[in-house]
């Protein structure tokens, strides 16, 4: 509908294991510049594999059996496990400065300054400027901010997020999601957001793709998919979101 000139296009993607067991079948999707697409589904639906194949990060036991992926821009990815995606032996400012140095064509010294600024923009403490810290000295939420900073250091046109808040507490999840939304408004990157949480996907993305057993069962505008889903599997996912009573506004 909106994606007239898509920045990312996946056409008829098929992925199999090396012994030809199909994992992802005939998946087609496109993302327009600055747009957000949510990929939702349960475990084993192929959502993460689809995302990884965009970056060419497939596990060695999985092959692309067909289809074409075209990305007209730089991609960067944010993974689920923030602590596992950072080098435990390198302090975070140094770690981020390294990424800035190799991606932004600046001096080592300038890279460090950019790194510190970027970390502050993501809400990490100012003290990092004087005293660098190791990943284990930060909380999970802080580590995830560092990982997002690293992805942004590449100045991506497309940000790929693989369950970036699943390992975090709800309050931290909200902060990280708000951060991503604000950054997207500011920097204008397109986003593919993989999550099993339909509520998170609907809050973050204008369009949704629902995946089941390696296929897309439904895709469209978020309000359309959530409000008037056609597929029984989508309905089941919506029904499985446990409702909460609405919170009364506090008199303050």
């Amino acid at each position: 509908m909106k994606a007239v000139d898509p920045i990312l296009k996946v056409e008829n993607l098929s992925l199999t294991t090396i012994d030809h067991k199909p994992l992802v079948n005939d998946v087609s999707l496109s993302v327009g510049s600055g747009e957000s697409l949510g990929l939702v589904g349960e475990s084993g639906s192929g959502k993460s594999l689809t995302l990884r194949s965009i970056l060419g990060l497939l596990p060695s036991s999985i092959r692309q059996a067909g289809g074409k992926i075209t990305a007209n821009g730089k991609c960067a990815m944010v993974f689920q496990d923030p602590i596992g995606s950072l080098d435990p032996l390198s302090p975070i400012v140094s770690q981020l400065a390294e990424v800035v140095y190799y991606n932004q064509n600046v001096s080592r010294k300038a890279a460090r300054t950019i790194a510190v600024d970027l970390l502050q923009m993501l809400g990490l403490p100012e003290s990092l400027k004087h005293k660098d810290r190791y990943p284990r000295q930060l909380s999970g939420g802080q580590c995830q901010r560092v990982v997002i900073a690293m992805a942004l250091a590449r100045k991506p046109d497309i940000l790929l997020c693989d369950e970036p808040t699943t390992a975090l507490d709800v309050t931290v999840q909200k902060q990280i999601l708000d951060t991503i939304t604000n950054l997207q408004k500011e920097l204008g990157f397109a986003m593919v957001f993989v999550t099993h949480n339909l509520a998170v996907a609907s809050a973050m993305c204008g369009r949704l793709c629902v995946m089941k057993e390696g296929r897309i069962v439904e895709q469209g505008d978020t309000m359309q998919v959530v409000g008037h889903s056609k597929d029984p599997y989508t309905r089941m996912l919506i029904d499985a979101v446990l409702p909460l009573p609405s919170l009364e506004r506090r008199a303050e």
Partner: protein
């Protein structure tokens, strides 16, 4: 026979770190208490103190008028059973389902050896698993099925209190719903008192009668479910509830 559980002034320290600070909590008979809080708030530590897996530095756990001390009798241990988050690591991969459930039955002398197989079949039926499961191994089952097996083992010894520590967090949403329904059903059929731990407020709302909120080792709020989800007493409860992503309507 039915006695409520009291946690009185319990403090737990790990080295210099205080994991629980003077916790007072009551679990009324045949109700479900939902325990919420962020990671590191002490939810699991409290569960482990109640189950007797951790000895508190101060305070005590009372079941009716009986103190559950450091050395618990077999009978005392039988009364409180636990289901953990990760069914993979709570089931012995080298034992068949019959061995896993049978061992609990024999240890607590619930039935005679000759009756073990029948009783295992019954238990599997209660958790909606086929009796062919008996001679199979944990790896042959899905995550949701394995959690059902862990539940079957926990209820096999006829406990009065069931502690479920994030029992559905490792499961897909559709499976989560069926495990929650199973736990509610078993709770009323077996007249269980349940302590249900979860960081997921949707899950807590679905299963609890009372909600207790923990933060940094302290119990900050205990409210009825109805009150907590609409008018939480504390700012922190309000903050937690407003952070939950909700479906657009």
């Amino acid at each position: 026979m039915e006695q409520s559980l009291h946690v009185e002034n319990v403090t737990v320290t790990y080295g210099g770190f205080t994991a629980l600070k003077q916790i007072h909590l009551e679990l009324p008979v045949q109700t479900t208490l939902g325990l919420v809080g962020e990671s590191g708030s002490g939810k699991s530590t409290l569960a482990r103190v109640i189950a007797g897996l951790i000895t508190p530095a101060e305070g005590r756990v009372m079941l009716g008028s009986e103190e559950l001390g450091k050395r618990r009798s077999r009978q005392q241990r039988k009364m409180i059973q636990m289901v953990f988050q990760n069914p993979d690591s709570s089931l012995n991969p080298k034992h068949t389902i019959k061995q896993i459930i049978g061992e609990a039955l024999l240890f607590h002398k619930i039935v005679d050896r000759s009756q073990v197989e029948n009783r295992c079949r019954e238990l599997l039926r209660m958790v909606h698993l086929d009796e062919h499961a008996l001679n199979r191994y944990p790896h042959e089952f899905s995550g949701g099925q394995r959690q059902r097996i862990a539940i079957a083992r926990a209820i096999s010894v006829e406990p009065s209190i069931l502690i479920a520590d994030e029992p559905t967090s490792a499961l897909d949403v559709s499976v989560q719903k069926s495990v929650l329904e199973l736990l509610s059903k078993l709770k009323s059929e077996l007249k269980l008192t349940m302590l249900f731990i979860s960081h997921d407020l949707g899950v807590i709302n679905a299963i609890s009668d009372t909600v207790a909120v923990m933060r940094k080792g302290e119990l900050v709020e205990v409210s009825s479910k109805e009150q907590f989800f609409t008018r939480p007493e504390t700012d922190y409860g309000y903050e937690l509830l407003s952070a939950v992503p909700r479906m657009p309507l």
